[in-house]
Structures are given as C-alpha cells and as structure tokens.
C-alpha cells in the first residue's frame, strides 16, 4: 500500500474538480486530484459549449436567485442555489486567467432575467438568468475540454498533483470527520490518501444503468433506443461516469440528494450524430428544433410546439408521454418551406437558415443507415402503421390541426400562427424523438457551503462536494437542469475550495 499526504483531496478532474483544485492551490493548499481515467476532464468535455454567469451586482443576483427559486417552487435548496448564483460571477475571470477567451458573450439585461427565453440554459424553463458565455474552442473541438486541459496544466504549475488512472473507491471517516480516502492505481495497488479535507467532484452517473433505473425511472440504452431503453447520453464513447462519488458518500452515512436526468430532445439511431454531439451527419438535429406538429404515441399533441427548441422542456415533456417518446410530423409542403423559405427556428449550434434535400436525407437514414426512428410515408395511415402512432386519434388531431392552420388560430395550445403548417400533401415525414441526456446528475446532498450532509442533515466534517454529483439540490426534485449546468460546476468548485480552506485553517490549525 502506498501513502500520500495532502491538504485537499479532490475526486475527479472535470470542470468542478479542477475549479476547486486551482482555487485551493491558489490559496496555498497542497492539492491532490484523483482521476479514474487517463486524462483530465469529465462529462463537461463533451457537452456544453457555454456557461452562464450572473452579473456581479446585487440587483441582478437577487432577481436571478428569486426567479430560479420560484421556478422550483422553492423545492430546491435555497442556500445551495444562492451559493451557485453568487459564485457564478467569478466564472469569466477564472476562464480568462486560464489563458482562454470567449467566442461570444450574450448579456441579459435586468428586465430580461426570467422574462426572455434564450440559450437553452435550462434555468428556469429556458428563461435567461444571467449572461451567456460561449467558450472559444480549437478547430472543431469543444471549448470545455480546453478549459479542463488548461486548468490541469495550471494546477500542476501551482504545485498541485493529478493522479490519473487512479479511482477513489472509499472514504476514510474517523469519528465525526472525513480524513482521506482509499484509491487504487493502474496496477491495482492500494493508495491511502491522508487529507485534511476531501472534495467529491466525480460527476454524474450516465454510465450506470442500475442507478438510472433505480433513481430516475428511465431505462438506459446503449443501442439507440432499439433495445427498449428510453434515454441516451451525449457523452464520450467510454466516459465511465458510474456514480463512484455518490456510492462512497452514501457508504459513510451521507444523505441521498435529488437525482435526475438532464436531457433534451434527440432522434436516436445510426447516422444522426457521431461520437460527439458537435458532429452531425445530416440536418436531423435542426429539424427536431422546429415548431411544427408534435404528437405522442396516442396521436395527441402534448405541448405548445413553440417550446421545440427549448431542450430541457422538450426532454421533460417527451418523457411524460407513453413509452417516453414523441414524434415530430410534417408534410411535403412544410419540407419545401424549410428548404426554400427557410427555417422558423435557427439552431444556434448548427445555424443553417435553410435545409437541403430533406427527402434524400430521410431516405438515406431509412435505407442505408437502417435508422428505426425515421419515417416516410404516402399517407397518414401508412405513417401511423410505421411509427406505432394511434391512427384514429391521429386523424382527429390532424383534422383539427389543419383547421387551426386555415383559421390561423391554434384553439388547443395557442401556438404562434406563423408556425402552423397543415399536414395535407404527401409525402408525410416523422421522426421519433427520445430524451437525449446531457447527464444523469445529483445524489449527494450538500448545503450552501458545499458541505456534504449526513442523514441527519448535519454536515459531515471535512467532506465537500461540487458539480454534477451535487447539482441535484439546485433544481429541486426531480432535477432537470440545462446545458448551463456548467455554471453550477464552476461555482460549486470555487465555493467548495473556499470552504475547505476555511475549515482547514480553523480546525486543523492547531493539530499536528
């Protein structure tokens, strides 16, 4: 067995772990980061392209805080939310100090906080809470991956250490406080880490089908939803986020926090996206953003389709439907509209204004790629046969919808008449859409100081948590965050390091 002594042990080298590590090292603490994979980074590296920071101004902070809390019916932990909002102000400087820049900054004026839908940040219900910072990336890469790389390099320059291929398995608790952990190196040799404080930043549990089933009610799929699963993840090919931190914390009496899946609408199956969500092989992702007719398996509408481009909302609405899926349906006239007049919603990630030969894209996906979630038919009846949508209901839905198109008023959900396109002209197109997970998150219950709470809701001394594993408390129960969740990871990373520093200085100062 090897032994390592450090001030702060950090489990995980994603956005939160490295933000904590850099912050702690800058305060002069000795830092050791343990990472199970051979490189730095976490779920973040492959998902968000941006983050959200509230302006450092009392009025902005108060408004963002209260609006977010109202959105969760004050079901989220108020102190945890306040810590996130306040510390989010530090994010832009942290990224600049890593030698990185932003490709765009979209400010949210005070009057637009909670009033204007913006960048799918996911708080609250798609409304803006703060300023949006789009990371500047290299080439076709993702900016968050570069943030992790630069943070890891900065940590090493500051004297911190990163142990790769070294999973932390259990925490060491002596009396009422955590004093370290047991990890293993690549050869399987046990490492005892003695630490004055431990920060768990091990991420979510997107690669743990049992946790997903037990704690979120979803069924994991690694086969494009053809195996009966209903949630697929936008993570690395082998991201190994199995909830190790949650397991270790629960083992020593940590309370279970809110757990959920934060996800968007996504057509699964071959030919849609590559290893990373940035790389799309066709325009499917743009089509699924459009505000046309959406139905569930019963052939009934379930949402005002103006919400189609709000990822969290669609992800959540879809999973409330039969078999946890929905369908976007359109006809040939709508295809011409998308190809010639242009799209109603421009998708900021893939900002095409028009689509190109939708029919050929559908045919390729169906015939060459054998994608089971793409449908093309001459009649509505045939489309329903293929998709499994209830035809009798669908007939009524489409008759009504066409009437709304004629009268330019959606009697059902009051959708903007500009988005009403009838379904009359063959061919008829449909895509089956499931929830595409950004991450499965939560599980560790923390308080406003990022201290991990025991089952009695009292903090466990010396134990902190930040990032996806602790983000459940920010959204209430069940948590459904947004891609702006990176904002929480940064903020909790900073805050957990601040608090660990205070604890070490007060508690450990007189102990040798």
């Amino acid at each position: 067995m090897k032994q390592i002594n450090t001030d702060v042990l950090i489990m995980g080298s994603g956005l939160a772990g490295l933000a904590a590590a850099v912050t702690a090292a800058e305060k002069g603490l000795k830092v050791a980061v343990f990472e199970k994979r051979p490189f730095q980074g976490g779920g973040i590296s492959n998902t968000p392209m941006m983050t959200m920071a509230v302006k450092e101004d009392k009025e902005y902070i108060d408004k963002a805080f209260n609006i977010h809390m109202s959105y969760t019916n004050w079901n989220a932990d108020a102190a945890v939310v306040k810590t996130w909002i306040v510390n989010s102000c530090r994010i832009p400087k942290y990224i600049k100090d890593l030698g990185l820049d932003f490709q765009a900054i979209v400010p949210t004026p005070l009057e637009e906080i909670g009033a204007k839908r913006g960048y799918c940040g996911g708080f609250p219900n798609g409304y803006n809470l703060g300023d949006y910072y789009f990371f500047k990336a290299r080439g076709k890469g993702h900016g968050a991956a570069l943030i992790c790389k630069n943070a890891a390099e900065k940590l090493v320059k500051l004297g911190g250490e990163i142990y790769f291929n070294s999973p932390v398995k259990t925490l060491i608790k002596e009396e009422d406080k955590v004093t370290g952990a047991i990890a293993f190196d690549k050869e399987g040799t046990e490492i005892k880490i003695n630490a004055k404080a431990v920060i768990i930043a091990s991420g979510g549990f997107s690669d743990n089908p049992e946790f997903i089933k037990e704690y979120t009610g979803h069924t994991y799929t690694n086969n494009n939803c053809d195996d009966g699963g209903n949630v697929l993840f936008n993570t690395f090919p082998n991201s190994q986020m199995t909830g190790d931190g949650q397991t270790a914390v629960w083992q020593i009496g940590g309370a279970k926090g809110s757990m959920g899946i934060n996800g968007h609408n996504l057509v699964p199956g071959p030919g849609i996206i590559g290893n990373t969500p940035w790389i799309v092989f066709n325009e499917t992702r743009t089509m699924q953003e459009q505000p046309y007719l959406w139905v569930n398996k019963l052939g009934q509408r379930f949402i005002n389709e103006e919400m189609s481009n709000d990822h969290m909302t669609m992800g959540t609405a879809i999973t409330s439907q039969k078999d946890k899926c929905g369908y976007i349906v359109f006809d040939e006239e709508t295809v011409r509209h998308m190809e010639q007049k242009g799209l109603d919603y421009i998708y900021h990630i893939f900002p095409a204004e028009r689509l190109h030969n939708v029919r050929a894209q559908f045919e390729e996906l169906i015939n060459a790629k054998k994608n089971n979630h793409i449908f093309l038919a001459d009649t509505l009846e045939e489309l329903c046969e293929q998709t499994g949508i209830d035809y009798e209901n669908m007939k009524v839905t489409v008759d009504n919808y066409n009437k709304y198109c004629d009268q330019k008023h959606d009697d059902e959900f009051g959708k903007n008449p500009a988005f009403l396109h009838p379904l009359k002209e063959k061919k008829f197109y449909a895509m089956r859409v499931f929830k595409g997970g950004y991450q499965a998150m939560g599980g560790i219950k923390i308080n406003g100081k990022c201290e991990v709470m025991g089952e009695d809701f009292r903090p466990i001394k010396g134990l902190y948590s930040a990032g996806d594993c602790a983000a459940g408390e920010v959204f209430g129960n069940p948590p459904t965050g947004g891609i702006g969740i990176s904002s929480i990871s940064f903020s909790q990373g900073f805050a957990s390091a601040d608090e660990a520093y205070k604890y070490i200085n007060s508690y450990w100062r007189n102990i040798k």
Partner: protein
Amino acid sequence: MKITIKEYCIRCGLCQDIYPELFKYNSTDDKIDVNYDEIPDNLTEKARSAAADCAVTAIFIKVMN
C-alpha cells in the same frame, strides 16, 4: 509523415467522426488508434487539419525527411 497522440487526449472520438480514414476509437484499450504508421501522401492534408481540429491539441504530426 507520422501522427502521434498525446496521453492527455480525451478520447472524445471527434477525430474519428471527421477523419475516419485516419483515426479509430479503440474500445478495448480506451484510446484512439491511428490507421497508418506512415501517413499516405493523399492524406497528409487531412492529418494537418485533424491536428488543427483536435479539441485539446493532442494530435501531433511529424514530417519525416
């Protein structure tokens, strides 16, 4: 020309998505394999682009004399 991939590669698989002629994700060893020891002349431009597109500067090219 040879391609080397640094240890800190994040295995995101982006290079395979864009340049499948050159890269393949190896799930057994959890790393990215380069399909050629020596990059054929017709792929050298793509190799340069791949180095420029990598999210974390993990792809390096070395031109042999």
